[in-house]
């Protein structure tokens, strides 16, 4: 497209557009873009936007699970197309636990497909179990867990792969507000410890405001970036941020930009229904 890629960036999107071709005469859906965006190496980037604006579509494009209609995506300088790249981990919006495997085997699932040794797998799974507060549940099946715990299993499954870029699609959607804040802190700790780049989709404005270095605000479908907000938080922030005036200012700004967009999306979907 128009601009050149910034090769120091971890991830670069240029003119990324996604149109779902309607099958059997159904109309095409312009879901996304065009989007230009660079993710800096090691930054925590959050995306907020009205429901149905194309957030998950954007994530699937980054993950290499979905082809772009136009534009291109570079991860670590290599073009993404049709396949997941090395060092990329994904946590999906839906519950992706494998119900026939124990929590332990679920977490080990991705690693088992690599040539990691059994001992190394055991060490990594154990530490992921501890980190996600699932230590007592290694032998349980997903059906015995709450929705929030299942989501933590999926997060742990991604973490054991030690990805350099972690894509999360509303990972805390199934959690209550308190657990959500604590899991957010846990994610911050992990982010600091690993130095990974994090791309987090959320519908909770306070979550985005608390966790991210930068927040991309998306428009109603077709999703474009309306604004990128720098929070300016220090690296060792935690949930106590929510008490500060600066935090209030960030969430206020997010809502200011999003309010109109959310109305648009509700009115359109409402009118169609």
């Amino acid at each position: 497209m128009s601009e050149q890629h910034d090769l120091t960036a971890h991830v670069g999107l240029r003119g990324v557009t996604k149109v779902f071709r309607g099958a059997d005469g159904a109309p095409s859906v312009h879901a996304l873009g065009p989007i230009d965006l660079d993710l800096r190496r090691g930054e925590f980037f959050a995306v907020v936007g009205p429901s149905g604006c194309g957030k998950s579509t954007l994530l699937e494009v980054l993950a290499g699970l979905s082809q772009v209609s136009e534009g291109n995506v570079l991860i670590e300088g290599k073009p993404v197309g049709g396949d997941i790249m090395d060092g990329v981990g994904v946590v999906f919006q839906e519950d992706a636990c494998l119900p026939w495997l124990t929590v332990y085997d679920n977490i080990a699932f991705g690693l088992m497909q690599t040539d990691t040794s059994r001992a190394e797998i055991a060490t990594r799974v154990e530490s992921a179990l501890t980190m996600t507060g699932l230590s007592g549940f290694a032998g349980s099946y997903p059906a015995q867990l709450s929705g929030g715990m299942r989501q933590r299993v999926c997060i742990a499954r991604t973490l054991v792969l030690q990805p350099r870029l972690i894509l999360l699609d509303e990972p805390f959607g199934a959690l209550d507000q308190q657990t959500r804040l604590l899991m957010g802190e846990e994610l911050l700790r992990l982010w600091r410890a690993t130095g990974a780049t994090i791309f987090l989709i959320t519908h909770a404005l306070d979550e985005a405001a608390m966790l991210a270095d930068r927040i991309g605000i998306m428009s109603a479908r077709p999703g474009r970036l309306l604004e990128i907000l720098e929070t300016g938080w220090s690296r060792d922030r935690d949930s106590r941020l929510v008490e500060t005036a600066e935090f209030g200012a960030v969430t206020a700004r997010l809502w200011q930009v999003l309010r109109g967009e959310s109305m648009k999306s509700i009115n359109r979907d409402g009118a169609r229904a």
Partner: protein
Amino acid sequence: MSRIGLFRTLVIVGLVGLIEVLCRTGVIDNFTMPPPSRIAKDLQHIVVTGKFNAAIAKTLSSAAIAFAAAVVAGIVAGVLFHSTPRLRRALDPIFATYYAIPVLAFYPLLIIIFGLGDVPKIIIAFMLGVVAVILNTLNGLDRVPPVLAKTARVARLGRVGTALKVTLPSAAPYVLTGVKFAVAYALIGIIGSEFVMSTDGVGFEIAFAYNNFDNATMYPLILLVMIVSIAVNLVLTFWEKRLLIRRGLR
């Protein structure tokens, strides 16, 4: 035992008891059917003397081969058709009408081609079972949550790995339904063929006993077939229950 289980047992015991009484009081004469207690004793005799061991072994081994072939081929075909929607759409009308065709009608033709041996029987039993396995596998694969397919892609599994490690395990409860059909059809196919035309097997022995008014052989063998079929089904049902409980579906 649950209340419903108790009720079920009472119904069965009651029915068998009723037949016993009807036989002993002569309402059903002994040339038509001996009392159930007599049938059980005759079966015990057959088992102890081992008189029909060869026939039983023949029937069960043929059924086992047909069953295994139907399950393996059915699952492989199910996965293949699922990943090739065009092929599936082309074959759909055949699947839809398949069980309207009396497969056993092909038996004489198969005997002409393969001779009067085990092969035609096994083919009949296989043909009966395989489509049930295919249809149930397809049904199960249709219900695999899309996010699990994405998970397989993220784990970089290929087509075979995805099928073995993600989609088939996810579809397992449905595949198992197909497997249960395959058991029933394997026995029906083999014993049915043996009835119609053959030189050995339990079906042949039952037909032979029938022609010779040999109730002391015919009824116990029928009972044996029922016991085997019910036993296999109980094992599969137990397995299915455990699988469903584990997934929180029961």
